[in-house]
Symmetry: C2
Subunit: 140 residues, 2 copies
């Protein structure tokens, strides 16, 4: 029923499925960077979701941002649904630091991605799966 | 009670106040570009809003994006809360075209802003105030 776009699949690793979204880790160690993809077919814009899904989307995005900020100590979270390259609706949740490679610019296209090593990726996934194990309240 | 950050005030023109957000027009004729600012004090992240405000935020953002896409025929809407430069929570809603100056890159920093002429700005505001006169359903 739900297919993840091949470009998103190639650039990320699955972390957990929440009630609405599949939560992905961007395979770029430059920034702590999650992507939330509503598990709905053929949706490219937030306004194409129905109101119940929109409510769930913002609760899941807010929870992912809140937990990732708490875990990393990021000074700012960047939340964005762009989709100019991959139209399938997906929401970036990126933890930003004044010391990161792109600050204060947006992350897209700023510096080439630095994939995690296998060991670092495995470690990061364990931590994220613990952090994100429980979906947010209000998603039932 | 609510103060608009001076940088946002300098770069935009007020269009309308919705139940949660002040809707602003970015004074850059390169793209049809709205900014929605929740009229709450000292909020920099979506997850700092309470759940009722978050629900209202996504309804207002979705309505602004839907109407701006319908009015402009944009191929894609970009929706983003970044805040690296201006921390006050604000959500960009940008209508994108494959022919625009930055496509497919994000708009921030891509090309210098081209302010509207006085006449074009006045005309655009009349159109936007009609388009956005009614707040979205579900915001009561």
């Amino acid at each position: 029923m739900f297919d993840l776009h091949e470009r998103l699949a190639a650039d990320t690793v699955a972390v957990v499925d929440w009630p609405l979204c599949r939560v992905l880790l961007m395979n770029d160690s430059t920034y702590p960077w999650l992507i939330l993809v509503p598990r709905r077919r053929s949706v490219t814009e937030i306004h194409e979701l129905d109101a119940d899904d929109r409510q769930m989307l913002i609760e899941e995005v807010a929870a992912a941002a809140h937990r990732l900020q708490s875990a990393t100590g990021a000074v700012k979270m960047n939340v964005a649904a762009l989709g100019n390259v991959v139209a399938q609706l997906h929401v970036h949740v990126v933890a930003r630091f004044t010391t990161d490679s792109a600050w204060p610019r947006p992350v897209w296209g700023a510096v080439p991605a630095t994939p995690y090593t296998d060991a670092a990726l495995a470690e990061r996934l364990v931590a994220l799966r613990a952090l994100l194990a429980e979906p947010p309240a209000g998603c039932d």
